[in-house]
Amino acid sequence: MRKAAGRYWLIDVAQNGHPYHAPLVLNESGAKMADLFLKGMDEGEMTARLSEDGGVDQTVVRGDVRDFVHSLGEYMNSGVK
């Protein structure tokens, strides 16, 4: 993941370049979730960590994490040849 122009860019570095797999552009909270995901945490672990860090109830965070993981899965699958 890279940071540039105030955004976070999740890049498929394994791609060959053609067809091109564009980066996933994330905001601050998306980047936090991506970071935890890339460290190998599952949805439950991510929810617990974000809830603790943000001082919010897990029920608030759970839906966002689920949506994010789903989007990330779609992004990763779209790069599969």
Binding site: A4, A5, N16, Y20
Partner: protein, 388 residues
Amino acid sequence: MSRTDPARMGEANVRLLAALRQSLRPRPGLSPTSLGDAVLDEAEWHEVLPLLYPVCHADRVQRAAEMNVHLFYRLLFLGKYAIRTLKGAGMQVLVLKGVSVARWYPTPELRPSSDVDLLLCDSSRLDEALRVLEDAGFVVLGEQNAHHHVALSLDGLQVELHTSLVEAFDDARINDAIRSITSGFAGRMESFSFLGMDWPCASPADQAFCLVLHALQHYLRSGFGLKILADWVIFWDRGIPEEERRAYREMCRECGILEFSEYLSSTCVAYLGMRGEQTVCDEDCALLMQDILCSGAHGKSSNARMVALRGTGLADYAREFHHQMRLNYPEASRVVPLWPALWLSTLFKFFYNNRKVRHTTLGNVLAETRERSEVSAKMHLFERGSDR
């Protein structure tokens, strides 16, 4: 107003230079500020708007920076695909400028670029390389605007496959020296890792040589803008080993362009805070900076803007005219008896373009050429033994 008067630069340009100075080497805790539309207009004209992101988060800058990041990655992976394709066919290439310079920027993704430049180490394999790239989906462009590279496109983006670093200059000895130096690039090439790939690149001295030739080519044609100076600052500020510096200076000395290199560096020290010694006087740096500010990114500031000659004498005009003839008619100009007809044709083309394409007069073109050439005359271009 004297040509070296700072007021001639315009307040917007003065503020742009100050902003670039900060953004190329952002200090920790730097807070974005407002620069105003006039400054941003100038930055856009020089195609350095994305570089201002560290010091300005105006909507225009934000949009330009984001678009640049998108383009940066598209070009990066386009380059990766081209390099791997050619490597797979047993052909060595190295990256010219592009990511090999961008990696030294505080945020590489903000370095503006519009295409991928690769040097084919063995130029005798050009036809083979083009076939390999075409098989991989690249399309050789029908209209080629240069003789030192072949432009191909894929997915709307351009790769320029170079067989030499720059277009031929008007001096056969210099062109031979450049060819000789370039032929050694493959033996000195290195690689660096960036985003999961090892990128082949020239040695530091060779990279510096590429940069100075690129700047010189643009300077002599119709000028260059701040984008090239930004690369210069970034490249030299990161520090290169002393032996590489010596090798670079020797290459420049061999080609008679060491003074030009000193002018570039001194101007960057004076106006962009580059580390190093200013060896060229303030007045001459001001003249060069004036030329750069007037050029914009592609030397298109005015319809009358044309080449900078190596001097202001009749011989300099004749030399350039003959060189333009050879560029226009690369094959026919090898037949000496055809020269008078080719000179005539070049002259007609020149008058026609002035009138119909550039919508300017011969007088304006000559006046602007003379002004630009007064600066370049001081650089003693291509003269051996003129170095400091």
